[in-house]
């Protein structure tokens, strides 16, 4: 009711902008405190993220992962579930991709492997989400905990499998053999160069397009299908869901399966797109970052894409920053990320209320 009077651009543009600016302001102070020049730093950061083709490529490459985990979190959220297990689901999703590639790259052509890898990522990721989902739906076990636990279990499982089974003998680093080229997802710069388009070489690969497709899919699924309707009902009012004859357990489980599957696609990007072998810890916290992405993106695909790009920019720009100014440890970027989450996530209302109030008063008067 009250929102009605507030111009939309205020909510979707002005307020987020203010929040993010505030985050960067504080970050600047931190950089100042450690005796570096914030302006210069910001310069490097922005240049690194958007200043040149390769940089943009890296930004979007990071964003790809964050889109997947962001979507994963938001799908679960819509069903009132807090899936904090994106990390583990992504990890196991990668295992799925890796197994497909390792087993088929000698025998099968790319156009067979790629779809199978997608399926593999989805199935493995979903499978990892299934148990917590089942326990939540049928046994009422707290899903936040079970998913946290499953993150730890996933990482141990992966270590065991890679170290004891998938590692090449004599190889020191714990990762599998490198796949044959026909099991590599093409880099976008490779795809575009024939068309005379040069985007500088970066890990950005076909997975990015897939990520965008997933956004469309999720959007349609949640806001334009019966299942989405049931999911949102369950998420906002479980009692009403039972009244409406919705099989809540089933919806819960499916929500988590889809969530896990989406998270699993991180494996696509990392394993098949970039590293071309199965290795440890390739999820590097994307699962947790996804929580922030989803919340900043207001659980809406468009918002998630934007939030993902913002974070991608921080990852990439941060690497650039640390490279150019060695006294700034890359970790400061993590701190900056945190501040962004704080201001545009947790403290979103700080400006919101005042500003909206202002506009409402204006509208009413």
């Amino acid at each position: 009711m009250s929102q009605a009077k507030v111009p939309t651009w205020v909510n979707i543009a002005l307020i987020p902008a203010l929040n993010i600016m505030l985050a960067f302001l504080v970050s600047g102070l931190v950089i100042l405190a450690i005796g570096e020049n914030p302006i210069e730093a910001a310069g490097y950061l922005i240049y690194g993220a958007f200043g040149y083709d390769e940089g943009i490529g890296y930004t979007l490459y990071y964003a790809t992962n964050l889109i997947f985990t962001g979507l994963a979190v938001s799908v679960a959220f819509k069903g009132g579930l807090f899936n904090i297990g994106g990390e583990g689901q992504a990890y196991i999703g990668g295992l799925g991709v890796g197994l497909v590639c390792l087993s088929l790259d000698h025998s099968m052509p790319f156009y067979v492997i790629a779809p199978l890898a997608i399926v593999g990522a989805a199935i493995f990721g979903a499978a990892w989400a299934y148990i917590p989902a089942y326990l939540q739906a049928r046994r009422g076990s707290h899903i936040v905990i079970t998913t946290i636990m499953f993150n730890f279990i996933a990482s141990s499982l992966m270590v065991y499998l890679i170290v004891n089974w998938l590692k090449e003998d004599g190889r020191m680093a714990p990762n599998s053999r490198t796949f044959e080229e026909n099991a590599w997802l093409p880099y976008l710069h490779e795809l575009l160069s024939p068309l005379g388009i040069d985007i500088g070489d970066s890990p950005l690969n076909l997975t990015f397009i897939w990520a965008l497709l997933c956004c469309v899919f999720v959007w349609g699924l949640i806001w334009h299908t019966r299942w989405g309707y049931q999911l949102r009902t369950l998420g906002t009012n479980p009692t009403a869901a039972r009244y409406a004859g919705i099989d809540t357990a089933k919806v819960t489980i499916w929500a988590m399966l889809i969530s896990g599957g989406l998270a699993g696609f991180v494996g696509l990007n990392e394993i098949m797109g970039v590293n071309h072998n199965l290795l440890l810890n390739f999820t590097a916290g994307y699962g947790f970052a996804g929580i922030a992405v989803a919340l900043m993106g207001r659980n809406h695909p468009i918002g998630i894409i934007l939030a993902a790009i913002l974070f991608g920019a921080l990852y990439q720009g941060g690497a650039e920053l640390a490279f150019e100014i060695p006294t700034i440890t890359p970790e400061i970027v993590i701190a900056i990320q945190g501040l962004v989450i704080l201001f545009s996530g947790a403290l979103e209302h700080m400006f919101k209320d005042r500003i909206e109030g202002f506009f409402i008063r204006r509208a009413v008067a």
């Binding site: 009250s2 009605a4 049931q230 906002t236 009692t239 009244y243 004859g245 509208a363 009413v364």
Partner: protein
């Protein structure tokens, strides 16, 4: 002598909504002052302001002639004001005692305070016949007693002015009568009472003065003795309204739904529904009277498929439904059974949805609203617009969040949704709880219309007026079982009241118990 409480030009705005506008009110000490108004008229808001729960934008309050500025409930309490909220403000898993002393513990360590509190509660219990087990856990108490706890809270803090917002909405006649005896007692002790209600009967019965609110403004003050229900009703809605439903006698025909020995055990294994058998015929309204919490909710949930039955069977639409062969809510709907739940906020609606989405809840799978893959938003919107017009839902805006409609209008959305499905059987619980008179009339007409079109209606309500006005047959439930059935014609408040208290057959009750124990 000065007024116990006086309001001067109180205004309050919520965002775009002017909830209260230049309200002036004078309440003489030691009187019971009624405040009535349609849903959303601003009553709750005004009371919340007096109690310091909201702060007024303008205007001020005087207590006993002295100006007080009330910024928090603490200030209100200090000024001797207590309030029983429309929605109880109790910590459900706390004991009565803990709830009462909360905020007035008397000492950093509980041990000291608690003893004193016990004594004081005993005294109050004596004085106002408010007896209650102070160690009971609140959520295990019936609503009537929970309300008593609220009153005790206020008195324990030495309230001289007591505000009650729609106190009888959840009470049985007996409980309500008891409440009014209590209010009387309070009045005799010199306590001033502000009573908000939708029920003119109560206003006429118990108040000294009454003020009427409409759309945020005070539109009239009356001495109760110098006014009438009709007069007040007109003031409230601004048009003449009839308080009785006129309908021809029912033409009951074939049995559409019959239940045999329905029983249900809850998670603790307690038998909530006890061998209920009933028959529901086409073209009749079967009213179920009973103190709320005596199995009506369970009955509705079992019949509608929301909750599984434990024993017995239901025959409906050629199907036999048993504990072995259950049907869920969706399947029952497909068999053309519609259900208006007792609690619209908890069950009937998704308050976060826009009106047009909430308007298909339960029927979201129907082909009318779906394409092959995607839902058909246009179809949903068009239909919602029609219904809002037909049922006079205000504001008629399909895109408004359901939460932002008033209870009355929310109820219209729910009833419209279920009735418009043109079901064979309609289960309807508390159809007019907290709904204003204008809406009540409309809703009652629709129910009767459905009956006359040869459908069967099962009506659950704690409003005896409503039961008697609408029903053709009346079943009374007590403690999960059916304790009596009678024709609406032979029903009057007293007999029903006795049956609801299961007082009409005390002796044979006892015999049965001996039989069991033997």
């Amino acid at each position: 002598m000065p007024y116990a409480i006086e309001l001067r030009d109180i205004s309050k705005r919520f965002g775009a909504v002017q909830a209260n506008k230049d309200i002036c009110l004078q309440v003489p000490a030691g009187t019971i002052h009624g405040i009535i108004g349609e849903n959303g008229a601003g009553k709750s808001t005004l009371m919340s302001i007096i109690y310091g729960f909201y702060e007024a934008d303008t205007g001020h309050i005087e207590v006993d002639g002295k100006r007080v500025d009330i910024r928090s409930s603490q200030d209100a309490i200090n000024a001797g004001i207590g309030m029983v909220h429309q929605h109880f403000m109790l910590v459900e898993n706390f004991s009565v005692l803990e709830n009462v002393i909360l905020g007035a513990e008397g000492g950093a360590v509980l041990k000291n305070g608690i003893g004193a509190a016990r004594v004081e509660l005993q005294r109050l219990a004596q004085e106002y016949s408010l007896d209650i087990d102070v160690d009971a856990i609140v959520e295990e108490l019936p609503v009537g007693l929970q309300q008593r706890v609220e009153i005790l809270k206020a008195l324990y803090r030495g309230a001289r002015i007591l505000i009650l917002d729609e106190p009888t909405g959840v009470l049985t006649p007996q409980e309500a009568d008891h409440l009014f005896r209590i209010l009387k007692a309070l009045k005799d002790q010199g306590v001033t009472v502000l009573l908000i209600t939708h029920k003119l009967r109560e206003i006429m019965a118990s108040t000294d003065n009454v003020s009427v609110m409409r759309q945020g403004e005070m539109v009239a003050h009356r001495e109760t003795t110098h006014t009438s229900k009709e007069d007040l009703a007109e003031l409230m809605v601004g048009k003449k309204v009839r308080l009785t439903v006129d309908k021809d006698d029912a033409q009951p025909s074939e049995v559409l739904l019959s239940a045999r020995d329905l029983s249900q055990f809850d998670s603790q294994g307690v038998k909530r529904l006890k061998d209920v058998s009933l028959e529901l015929r086409a073209g009749e309204i079967l009213g179920i009277a009973g103190v709320s919490g005596n199995g009506q909710s369970e009955l509705l949930n079992v019949l509608s498929g929301i909750a599984p039955m434990s024993e017995g069977e239901v025959h409906f639409a050629g199907q036999v439904i048993t504990a072995k062969a259950p049907k869920d809510a969706a399947q029952m709907r497909d068999l053309k059974m519609a259900h208006v739940p007792e609690d619209r906020h908890k069950m009937g609606l998704v308050t976060g949805f826009e009106a047009y989405e909430a308007a298909v809840l339960g029927y979201h799978n129907s082909p009318d609203y779906n394409g092959k893959v995607l839902m058909n938003r246009k179809a949903m919107l068009d239909e919602c617009n029609e219904r809002m017009a037909a049922w006079d839902v205000r504001p008629p805006n399909p895109h408004l969040k359901t939460a932002n409609f008033s209870g009355g209008n929310q109820q219209k959305i729910v009833i419209a949704r279920e009735v418009e499905q043109n079901p064979e059987v309609l289960l309807i619980g508390q159809p007019t709880r907290g709904v204003d008179i204008g809406a009540i009339e409309n809703i009652h007409e629709q129910i009767v219309k459905l009956r006359d079109s040869g459908k069967a209606i099962l009506l659950v309500s704690v409003e005896l007026d409503e039961i008697m006005a609408l029903s053709d047959r009346i079943i009374v439930m007590f403690d999960g079982a059916v304790v009596g059935e009678l024709d609406a014609k032979d029903a009057d408040e007293r007999t029903l009241g006795l049956m609801m208290a299961n007082a009409h057959q005390k002796e044979q009750e006892d015999e049965e118990q001996e039989g069991e124990s033997a």
